[in-house]
Symmetry: C2
Subunit: 336 residues, 2 copies
DNA sequence: CTGAAAGCGCTTACAG
DNA sequence: CTGAAAGCGCTTACAG
């Protein structure tokens, strides 16, 4: 194991000097160019990598960032994977290690949290939607000096922590507008949280079309089965509709599949949109028109915000802008 | 920030004693029960958590495990997510931090590897299938004293490192047998690596049925489009077939969807099986019969093996046993 | 131009 | 029964 001291001994200088040359932080020091070169050369030859534990210990850091992740998105959407992927690779580039914990519910989360966590990490990034009580625990940490950044949280339970996520309302608005522009006039809306309807309504308003509240159908979750169930209810109701705005790709896939199965037809399906632009969207019988959830950008923003905060800045929450991705589910072009 | 020294000062004892009481490693020491209780009580009150950096530094460890992950499985299968999820939560329970790096190709991987990595981690878990050269780099690390454990590697490029993965041949065998038992007699096989055919052939042999080599169709990858493409070729060939064993849920979904689209029929599809038992399998128009890839078990085995190795044991590679999960794609029960 | 010393928060022989 | 001391591998005033 190659250390500063080892290199110093080899070259007959002090480890102090080696440290300064390698870190580039010379302080009041001015080294002769020749020893500088000698040190750098030897360090490179030995692929010297400073022991980050020792560095962090000395500098009063932990060298560790806590990444607490709730499932984001519906199964098959790969959103959690994408988030962890981007975030962990970024933290790695900053030289920080990870305390990575996946939690499924409030109990898991509470198990992960204790005041002593400040002895373990330099900051916390929490992804996913916890209960309001969790938010207040996190806010306490933050106030006590442990920087906390959130991502994909439900804005109203945030307790003033910086949060990054896609603009949900705009997602619904983009999808709704698109379907209205395709000629739909009686759109159903599968939604999970009532708040999500703002975008659906806004799109109607902007185009001067009046939506029919009897076509608002509340879903339990964002999953495939939830889409099937909503579709079941919609078809059973007998109410006329000519398109559907759903809250996730999983829901849209479930809804479409139920329709195919009940009607036995592979054409003239109701125009429909998903959310997330996940792998689900491209592996449906009919590829799904969807809106992005900007997961990579969210991860990047959250990590940057954490380092900003550690550097003394006050990062601001942000809503990222979704993009519409048009595929056959809404255009009904014929099969190849 | 609460430290040993802080507690020691409060109680008027040495930090040495506090350390021994809290760690439970008393050595030659024998403490009075009353001071022991006092120390434990105060530590609990303050939620004292020892600084793991300092512990690791002292004990000559890094307190960090490298987790290098290639994508496992097809997009939408969530296998990478599952693997990272289980592995990271386990490592966390052992108190180790993570150096988590996702790599997409050989270049990424090489960027992540340097001899100096021994200064950063106590061990390496590598998931996914790298090139043979990567395997030999890893084997070098292992020989030089950095324990390396593999998961989901292609066995022939392993260079004697312990590896954990599901038994691919048995996966194909289970699926093939199941289809033969459903009455199929002319099975097509969509396969990626030639080696995977062993199970397909074994199943035929065990049931005394002769397969037709003109129904072996090689796929580029495990993805949805690959399944579509293989199905395209199969249908174009005009050769008779009555069932399909594919190499992934993505392939199976793609193949089925192409069939529905080309025939316009929603019944009498060719009986078909996938692999991975992923979310894709349950969000198809027809739920897919599949075989599990035992990702959780693989992750657990890999992590356990790493700790075994660090404890001086010699962990042995293992092939985990897949399970068949029967759904409609192979039974063709009617739609609800 | 360079080095000795102190210290980050622990652990573990060693000494009393 | 308990503590002083040394040391893990670094960094950073401070002194020459």
């Amino acid at each position: 194991m190659v250390t500063l001291k080892g290199i110093a001994k080899e070259l007959g200088v002090s480890h102090t000097l080696v440290s300064r040359v390698i870190s580039g932080r010379m302080g009041t020091t001015r080294v002769s160019e020749s020893t500088r070169q000698a040190i750098l050369k030897r360090a490179k030859e030995l692929d010297f990598q400073p022991n980050r534990l020792a560095m962090a210990l000395q500098e009063g850091r932990k060298g560790v960032v806590g990444l607490f992740l709730h499932r984001i998105g519906t199964p098959g959407s790969e959103m959690s994977h994408l988030f962890a992927n981007i975030a962990s690779n970024m933290l790695d580039e900053y030289g920080d290690r990870l305390m990575l914990r996946y939690f499924r519910n409030k109990d898991d989360f509470e198990k992960f949290c204790s005041p002593g966590i400040k002895n373990q990490v330099d900051g916390l990034i929490v992804g996913g939607v916890p209960h309001p009580e969790m938010a207040s625990i996190l806010a306490d940490y933050d106030r006590s000096g442990l920087p906390v950044i959130c991502a994909f949280h439900n804005v109203d339970i945030l307790a003033n922590l910086p949060n990054f996520q896609v603009d949900h309302s705009m997602q619904a608005c983009l999808a709704t507008k698109h379907l209205l522009e395709q000629g739909c006039r009686r759109l159903a809306h599968f939604y999970v949280m009532p708040g999500r309807q703002a975008g659906f309504l806004q799109a109607h308003e902007e185009l001067g079309i009046t939506p029919d509240p009897s076509l608002y159908i509340q879903a339990k979750q964002y999953h495939y089965e939830d889409g099937r169930e909503c579709m079941q209810r919609l078809m059973d109701s007998g109410i006329q509709y000519d398109g559907i705005v759903t809250d996730s790709d999983g829901q849209a896939a479930g809804a479409l599949n139920l329709w195919f199965q009940r009607t036995g037809r592979l054409s003239d399906w109701p125009r429909i949109t998903g959310v997330d632009n996940s792998p689900i969207a491209t592996s449906c019988l009919v590829p799904l028109t969807s809106v992005t959830s900007e997961v990579e950008e969210t991860a990047r923003a959250a990590v940057m915000a954490l380092y900003d905060k550690r550097a003394g800045k006050e990062p601001q929450s942000a809503l990222l802008t979704p993009k519409l991705v048009v595929r056959e589910s809404s255009t009904r072009s014929q099969f190849d």
